[in-house]
């Protein structure tokens, strides 16, 4: 038995292929949108994974360090380390800022795609600067090039998305840092790539003011008679030294000893250390449900609309394709073809179109996903779901077309 659908496709193959391609690109856009949404959620999860922590200890009554600002003294970690069930604990600071390449850096001339890296022509990149203690939680877990930090100052590990290369010198506040290692998928909850620098440098970058501000502050203090008493030499110097010193961090990352429940470790921290402690589950709740909730819903809403529009367009394409063949169908009916055969032909074509569209969509989405400035995560489960939905829509659309085809009067073949 010859395949009617196959014959028809062979007859108008150009039209069929082009329709499939167009459909595919539309499906590709929808899949990408789903990927953008998944990427957002994954960015938030990546932030938690990369910190390597089971517990986040932050300032009391805050939901820091990602959702709110939190400030702790950097010696609090010693008390936390002494608690039962704590395997490792380390200070960490987070600061989102513009990081720029120093002038005359070796890699400054290197052409990096500004769209793909999120940077601009001036070599400035929006990045989250993470201050961590090497070898402790908070350190990037894996590198794609270079090495981990070995010096306690002025070295940096950057995410490849920053566009920095090994050996580049980048400027954060008043110091230059040498990029010694590159890592991947280390992003903030907003998708900004991370730059890892030693904790002490990061504390300075976060809290130390610029020179003008320091000078002004000194002058202000000197003008204050309470701090600049004639009979007390050294008081002014002491006050000024106290003003410029900084021993604050944003959070303490805690790894729990195997066999201990993070919640059980967190309880004494909340009760006796007068700090807030979040477990992984709570932190994920804060990040996904609170921090990125609005923007994720925004994307989600758009995705829903796009999916509906795509479905409508797919249905219309199949419907109009069938209407275009109405004369041929009338001829078929005239020569006594059974309704089942005609319906089968339309259904097969619709499903074939859907399949081609899906494959083209999947391939195109995968190909253009890396070009997006933010992370696009194409989940296989989403793709599968997409396939089922596409097939379902095609079937539904073809039933509409089949109804029209079956109602056609065989006389139309001759009458026109």
């Amino acid at each position: 038995m010859i395949s009617l659908a196959g014959r028809d496709i062979l007859h108008s193959w150009g039209k069929f292929v082009l329709t499939g391609l167009g459909l595919g690109l539309l499906i590709g856009v929808t899949l990408s949108m789903a990927g953008v949404y998944r990427g957002m959620v994954d960015d938030a999860r990546a932030l938690l994974n990369n910190s390597g922590a089971d517990l986040w200890v932050v300032q009391q009554d805050t939901q820091g360090p990602y959702a709110e600002s939190s400030s702790l003294r950097d010696d609090v970690v010693r008390g936390v380390l002494g608690l039962a069930g704590v395997e490792r604990a380390a200070n960490v600071t987070y600061l989102t800022m513009q990081v720029r390449r120093s002038d005359g850096a070796p890699g400054a001339a290197a052409s990096s795609d500004p769209v793909a890296t999120g940077g601009d022509a001036s070599g400035e990149v929006r990045a989250m600067v993470v201050g961590f203690e090497p070898g402790q939680p908070g350190e990037p877990g894996y590198l794609v090039a270079g090495r981990h930090l070995t010096r306690s100052h002025y070295e940096a590990v950057a995410d490849v998305r920053t566009g920095f290369a090994l050996g580049d010198r980048i400027r954060i506040r008043r110091h230059d840092y040498t990029v010694v290692g590159l890592t991947r998928r280390m992003v903030s909850s907003g998708g900004d790539p991370m730059v890892f620098i030693p904790l002490k440098d990061a504390q300075e970058a976060q809290f130390l003011k610029d020179n003008d501000a320091i000078l002004n502050e000194r002058a202000r203090t000197a003008a204050n008679p309470a701090f600049n008493r004639p009979g007390v030499p050294g008081l002014l110097e002491a006050v000024q030294a106290a003003q410029s010193a900084n021993h604050s961090v944003n959070a303490i990352l805690v790894q729990v000893r195997p066999g201990f429940d993070p919640e059980a470790v967190a309880a004494p921290i909340r009760r006796w250390k007068h700090l807030e402690a979040y477990t992984r589950v709570q932190m994920e709740e804060i990040l996904v449900a609170k921090l990125i909730a609005t923007s994720a819903r925004q994307i989600g809403m758009f995705l829903v609309i796009l999916a509906i529009v795509s479905a409508a367009i797919v249905a219309f394409i199949i419907y109009t394709m069938t209407l275009g063949k109405i004369r041929e169908i009338a001829v078929l009916k005239l020569i006594g073809t059974r309704d089942r055969t005609i319906a089968g032909m339309i259904l097969q074509q619709a499903l074939g179109l859907g399949l081609i569209g899906f494959v083209v969509g999947k391939v195109s989405a995968t190909l253009w996903a890396p070009v997006f400035p933010k992370y696009v995560l194409l989940e296989p489960a989403d793709a599968l779901r997409g396939l089922v939905v596409v097939m379902l829509i095609c079937t539904l659309a073809s039933t509409l077309a089949i109804r029209v085809a079956l109602k056609v009067d065989p006389a139309a073949a001759i009458g026109g």
Partner: protein, 417 residues
């Protein structure tokens, strides 16, 4: 357009379908759970690491002093300015002596008066002595005459009483003289003290050096101990280096050092650890070492930031791995070993580490084994991997850089030379 034959159409369509299928297969294999994780590997080899310590510090003067008065006083004049070279003993500044000179004059007058008093007392003593000698002669004569009964007993006794009185008067005169002399000595001592006080308001340099600060101008009142001038010995400049406690193993006096000053980061000046402080900073968790320059550069300024790299003695040869290959899996430090069956996590014990990221592996990995260095994501024992040359295309300008050699020059925080 000439219509194509059915066979040809079929061929074209099949080709298109195949191409689509191939693209799909490629996409599935390249992304998603089926895609292998790309990694780079290194063959573990015996080698030696060149461990080193890195710290930042500031240039300080080993010998510096603050010159100020010992009592509250007003500055009368300051003889030197910032940047002047001074010699030991040179007058730097003078405090207002207030009434010290007048008190000196008063004391001098008192001393002259004391001298006159001593002379008067001396004369009084001589007078008393003469009276006493006369009384002695008279008494002797009276006693002799009394023994021959020429004089009455009462007359003899009167003479004896006269002699006793004269002796007593002499004693009083001698005591007065001694008192006057003591008074004179006291005044002399007071005068010497006043001279010293007068000298004390003159601030002189205790050592050769350079004036680094002039904190008070003439007319300023300073309290005891407050600095009017600061002087430091430029030959004694060294670097106070702070090293992370966690990375200070092997820190000892005598270690060779390379010092990069912020003003000239490209030049590494040779130096040596002169002293390691016995007390380390518990707040910043840093140890403090003092590093001397082999040859002090010109134009060195106190307070300048410096980066110091201390070279440690090289440990014996052992297996050496780049630090990027070391991972932590459930609290255990180790590395992913590539074996025929896949990946295996080898727990390792590490020793010294060099600043270029090479780590001495004491055990856990043998020479010749293949170890994963870089990976696209976290690895697990079940990860499918694909070994590649590099995960990031080397950029022009940094091309050819191997892991660990990214920064052979000290990681200078300073400006570009």
């Amino acid at each position: 357009m000439k219509p194509m034959s059915v066979t040809r159409r079929r061929l074209v369509l099949s080709a298109l379908g195949l191409a689509l299928l191939a693209a799909m297969a490629f996409v599935v294999m390249r992304s998603g759970p089926l895609a292998p994780t790309r990694v780079t590997v290194v063959r573990a080899a015996e080698g030696r690491v060149a461990p080193a310590l890195f710290g930042i510090g500031t240039v300080e003067a080993r010998r510096s002093l603050q010159v100020g008065p010992t009592t509250a006083a007003r500055v009368r004049h300051v003889a030197v300015d910032v940047g002047d070279t001074v010699q030991a003993g040179q007058l730097l500044a003078e405090m207002d002596p207030v009434d010290l000179d007048e008190r000196g004059q008063a004391l001098a007058a008192s001393l002259a008066r004391a001298g006159s008093l001593v002379t008067a007392m001396e004369s009084q003593r001589r007078d008393a002595l003469a009276r006493k000698e006369l009384a002695v002669v008279n008494t002797r004569r009276t006693v002799e005459l009394g023994a021959q009964n020429f004089l009455s007993a009462s007359a003899v006794e009167a003479r004896q009483q006269e002699q006793a009185s004269a002796e007593a008067a002499l004693g009083a005169a001698e005591a007065n003289l001694a008192a006057a002399r003591h008074d004179q000595q006291r005044l002399q001592a007071e005068q010497a003290g006043l001279k010293q006080q007068r000298a004390n308001v003159r601030l002189v340099a205790a050592m050769n050096g350079v004036v680094t600060a002039r904190d008070a101008e003439p007319g300023t009142t300073v309290v005891a101990g407050q600095a009017v001038l600061r002087v430091m010995d430029p030959a004694s400049l060294w670097v106070r280096v702070r090293l992370d406690q966690g990375r200070s193993t092997g820190l000892a006096a005598g270690l060779p050092a390379r010092i990069a000053l912020r003003s000239n980061p490209a030049q590494a000046l040779p130096g040596r650890v002169a002293r390691v402080e016995a007390v380390s900073d518990s707040v910043t968790e840093e140890r403090v070492a003092l590093v001397e320059f082999e040859q002090r550069p010109a134009g060195l300024s106190v307070g300048e930031l410096a980066e110091v790299t201390l070279s440690l003695p090289s440990p014996p040869a052992s297996v050496v791995l780049p630090n990027a290959s070391l991972k932590r899996l459930s609290g255990q430090l180790g590395a992913w070993r590539l074996e025929a069956g896949g990946l295996q996590f080898a727990a390792v014990r590490t020793g010294a580490m060099s600043l270029d990221g090479q780590v001495q592996v004491l055990d856990g990995v043998k020479a010749g084994e293949t170890i994963v260095v870089h990976s696209e994501k976290e690895l697990a024992a079940s990860s499918r991997i694909k070994v590649v040359q590099a995960l990031v295309a080397p950029q022009p300008g940094t091309g050819g850089q191997q892991p660990g050699q990214a920064s052979q020059q000290p990681g200078l925080g300073g400006r570009q030379p």
